[in-house]
Symmetry: D2
Subunit: 398 residues, 4 copies
Amino acid sequence: MLPLHSHPSGRHFLQIPGPTNVPDRVLRAIDNPTIDHRGPEFGELGKAVLAGMKKVFQTESDVIIYPASGTGSWEAALVNTMSPGDKVLMAETGHFATLWKKVAERLKLRVEFQEGDWRHGADAEQIGKRLAADSGHEIKAVCVVHNETATGVVSDVAAVRKAIDDANHPALLMVDTISSLASIDYRHDEWGVDVTVAGSQKGLMLPAGLSFNAISAKALKASETAALLRSYWDWKEMLAINPSGYFPYTPATNLLYGLYEALQMLFAEGLENVFARHKRHGEATRRAVQAWGLEILCRKPEEYSPALTAVMMPAGHSADAFRKTVLTHFNMSLGQGLSKVSDKIFRIGHLGDFNDLTLCGTLSGVEMGLSKAGVPHKPGGVQAALDYLSQTSKPYPA
Amino acid sequence: MLPLHSHPSGRHFLQIPGPTNVPDRVLRAIDNPTIDHRGPEFGELGKAVLAGMKKVFQTESDVIIYPASGTGSWEAALVNTMSPGDKVLMAETGHFATLWKKVAERLKLRVEFQEGDWRHGADAEQIGKRLAADSGHEIKAVCVVHNETATGVVSDVAAVRKAIDDANHPALLMVDTISSLASIDYRHDEWGVDVTVAGSQKGLMLPAGLSFNAISAKALKASETAALLRSYWDWKEMLAINPSGYFPYTPATNLLYGLYEALQMLFAEGLENVFARHKRHGEATRRAVQAWGLEILCRKPEEYSPALTAVMMPAGHSADAFRKTVLTHFNMSLGQGLSKVSDKIFRIGHLGDFNDLTLCGTLSGVEMGLSKAGVPHKPGGVQAALDYLSQTSKPYPA
Amino acid sequence: MLPLHSHPSGRHFLQIPGPTNVPDRVLRAIDNPTIDHRGPEFGELGKAVLAGMKKVFQTESDVIIYPASGTGSWEAALVNTMSPGDKVLMAETGHFATLWKKVAERLKLRVEFQEGDWRHGADAEQIGKRLAADSGHEIKAVCVVHNETATGVVSDVAAVRKAIDDANHPALLMVDTISSLASIDYRHDEWGVDVTVAGSQKGLMLPAGLSFNAISAKALKASETAALLRSYWDWKEMLAINPSGYFPYTPATNLLYGLYEALQMLFAEGLENVFARHKRHGEATRRAVQAWGLEILCRKPEEYSPALTAVMMPAGHSADAFRKTVLTHFNMSLGQGLSKVSDKIFRIGHLGDFNDLTLCGTLSGVEMGLSKAGVPHKPGGVQAALDYLSQTSKPYPA
Amino acid sequence: MLPLHSHPSGRHFLQIPGPTNVPDRVLRAIDNPTIDHRGPEFGELGKAVLAGMKKVFQTESDVIIYPASGTGSWEAALVNTMSPGDKVLMAETGHFATLWKKVAERLKLRVEFQEGDWRHGADAEQIGKRLAADSGHEIKAVCVVHNETATGVVSDVAAVRKAIDDANHPALLMVDTISSLASIDYRHDEWGVDVTVAGSQKGLMLPAGLSFNAISAKALKASETAALLRSYWDWKEMLAINPSGYFPYTPATNLLYGLYEALQMLFAEGLENVFARHKRHGEATRRAVQAWGLEILCRKPEEYSPALTAVMMPAGHSADAFRKTVLTHFNMSLGQGLSKVSDKIFRIGHLGDFNDLTLCGTLSGVEMGLSKAGVPHKPGGVQAALDYLSQTSKPYPA
């Protein structure tokens, strides 16, 4: 028996900010028998998922699908475009921006890390200033996390693009959308992103195991001269064979079944509606947090994440003890504070395959957990969410 | 594509009082390849589920498993024990008691229906009086619904047994546990029940399609002379072959896989804990209803159902319009009022594979639905439930 | 762990003549979460499967779906149309015809059983003679098994109809198609059948648990005056509510999901193609049997079943010992000889979700089992099947 | 609807030499809801699969699990142990050895490729000579493919180890077991392998998406000074956290469920029995090929693969046209000839979750396909396999 049962009865609430709850339709799709990855059906599948992913990235450019975790697509973005010793400018938005930096350092890139307090998005103005000062164009890329999963802060990617352009700087713009894609409006082409990095296990509603790069023509050109060594992550062979729907090495066929189904679900709902749903659930969550009298980690309302909300623990209280209470009493997993904010915050994931009542269950678990764990708070958070959700709900079908 | 998707995102809340939400483990079990129903593995399966069902019925006597809906096991109870024209005494507890009466009438039994107001359980005292008056022992059976699914009222089966015994009356006692078995404590042997009727789609956490009779020695003896015609429902052939784990006609093999798994889950949790969980969720639900200022259909607190709560609509408001609002806005199915109470009540199912947060989501859907549908109520129902659940929750594992 | 694994590796070959191998698509459909059987999606599902079943029965008349085994639909056919003491004429084609007779007898019908040797189909000429002699029209129904699952013999239903018509006799014609429907061409309307009986677990490729009646206008009229008692099986209430897609009592929702998917598969393949496939596999199997020098139970080539082949054991050899050898050595279940032919024959099912290579695997298991069990036979059966299948195979897609 | 259906009825025969047919138990395991990869259940899962994989590798050393295709684990083996410009000695056994070489070249290693004819395993004697001549110990690693998936030839790993030892050479021994692990006896520790490379989609009976390294103490030591850049593939962080059952980045949780289940299946059957089963199926397949009068690509009987058999097409006939005939007529996928042997051979996979009757179906498809495609051959291949399988089969349970 698989060791999957944290409680004897009822569904687990997986409210970490990803991996998210995989919809039954997607799980059932993954459960189909494996087919020949060189046979005719596979070609149809491959073309369908590649085309669908372009729509999700809002791009006409190329998309790569790797059988790998999201971490791999960070590496892929760098090794395909950079040469040893290249300088990259990265914005410290939180733990995941820091991990990406670590990847870059391991690849012997010189990283300039724009310091952050983990409560703000990337500072486009600062980035612009730094680029303007870089008259020698030593900086080869600017790397930004769109939605910092560790903090619940969204960076303004269009503003970063504008800052680069205003500085007349040729640096590539690379963006991590691992926890934003298919949850928060994201426009690879319109925002002029060169490499977008993504993963399967958040807004795409799949288990972990697939990751993605979306690539601009400029990035593709850069890859021709980029000297970092690469094999598994190399775009070239992928792009050569992908038009036929095939892959240069054995793809993760069953996860691609799930991706196919998830794409059907996203398009049936409509991406606009998907984004609006996440925004509304983010707002409801924050109203609950505010009603409890707790502090949201993200400082600026315009940077609030529609995908997750990081909540600060009152001083003297352990976020991890609180999370453990929630898990053992209420069968819900919440996200932990990572590294700098370890034990100081907890994170509520409200992304992926989600709806109003599951959110209400989630917030109820938080509110009851606060009581149970003796964390000082005002009651009424769930009530505040109910009020907002009820006021703003719409019938379906209309 | 199966037409199963009432909303584009997130899990449907199936909070009718059955069929209940089938746990993933049970669905996956049902999804296994069919085996030879006359082969050796099947014999092991058959013996295991028959033995498990005895534990659930709390009986040492025989249990029958039919490939049929619960409705069939009502018929089975009667045709195996009664003869044409026999008189049966039935208690009008609600819609399902009335349906059972209809079955009896179609079988040309003479039914004496002890009138009820659909807000109380069976009246053991009245039953005792009637039996005492039946000095000729014309009444062959007393039929009671343990948990009236239409009203959320539990009848005191032990009290009915005592009334029969005190009247020194030989009538068989037949009890419908379709919506109570494996949710509410039920003791076939200790309470002296002769035929217990049950179905798969409620506390047993399976889809509909299996139904059950548990049979006392006295009922078995009655079946030897019972003259109602029977073939599919006949106990005799079943009991002859069941000890080897096989069935006289093709069983619903895949649902039996599910039953096997559901039994493992129930025994792992412990039946005592299952019953306590349902009681606690019933109490939380009623606290919410009372906080909303709405009236519970069930009049007597000692008869409150741990499996579902029927709520009365304020005069002038349509329960069905409210339910439709809840379905279209919040992706939740609530139970409708049936027959006499059509459009006047709605029913909240809180049985089967269930936990605190799913209950909170459920009650949130009701509270928001009340607002959205303009039903007069006080806010705070969910809050009342949160307070109670939080106070009474226990960690797992401890 | 479910006790489902007769061998440690590879797929079990379930080659009994039903329940058949359920296709993965159907298993996955059954594995979907249960929905509200009174909600809007269910209505769509119900209408779709009822309409689909009419196409399968090749009828414009009514179809009933029961949550029950096929055995139940035998009983349903009789209790809805007959009155106590009515005489029915049944043809002894084998074990299942005999079981249907037993059902009729338990319902206190007077059965006239046209004796058979279990190696022929129903004798239309004899039926015609008997009806011609029944000038008082005492016989109320003629009951025939289309494909006798116990023997692999197909009866000519159209000929039986003609015999009844030629005798100008008003008896209803009832036909059991449990192991023929959706495998062998069957025409409820064209052949003038009054009640067709069917089950889910054979050509419909589902697990057991659903059964069916198709009903002519004449049968429906008969039901108005039929005096046998009935409740669960009563057509009336079903037909009243079915047009909206709903059922009068809780349906076996998850099996209906499977039925929906199975219907999509049958219609996508085309019923004509389904029938041709079964015929071809029947022929290949018989060529193998003949090459082995074994005798086919069915005596007349025009009555050979496309769904299964019953093979006679050489004298002095036990068919059951042979089947056990096949099960333990080759992980395949074959059908046993039932009652009169117990241990004397074995049955090879070649119906349902099936293809050439699975048939070759099946026949290989039989040939190796014959060797292993020391049953006298000539080698070359599989080779004969290969030759025939190869010659007659067609590409797909064309 | 997923584009997965190459034929309208029956199971597809996926007889490429991997990805293999995934057993239902494993597919169902993968279909379970995703859990928190940082929660307590996950830790149990992680420890269980890591421990299980050690048993499969027959090692006491460390095992790494990557969320990646097998191709990734080739890269991982090299980047963790080598420095830029290091020389590696690789044996050209076929297409996959050549691909591994390509990976090495992309990583700027200097590859010495011992030429082969794609019909033999690695030549231990030659390797020994070359190492003896390498008195400066310029060669840092010897890389061998255990079972060359492109040719069906097994290399003698123990002999290669002995050759290295006899030459007193410090080179690491790296072995690709992608298509042998859990099908062919393989002993990481006993054979003194330093890095073993493996994937999930062959003998481990999973979909593609997981890959593995097993690491000797010597390899681990080498990784401390290896200067190739690495991040995703870095052993260090993995090994630091794995003892607790966790991973440094998001693991492919649902595939790990499948791995857990597959390991249970392998251990229940017993690895010895698994190896014996594959050997026996290889022998049966070769007997069929020889009876057809076709030539096996592998030249030396002691190097025949128990996992797949590559068959040479008679001159003037297209292997790919033949494979297409088999696919369109018989719903079976066979492996194609790759690169040097493109269109000249086809490959029959007989590994993974497999049994006698599925093999018979497979060989039947080949034999019928040969006829259908007009490929000159003698009949009787299937018969030869039947004879062998029947003689050597054993009952289960015994």
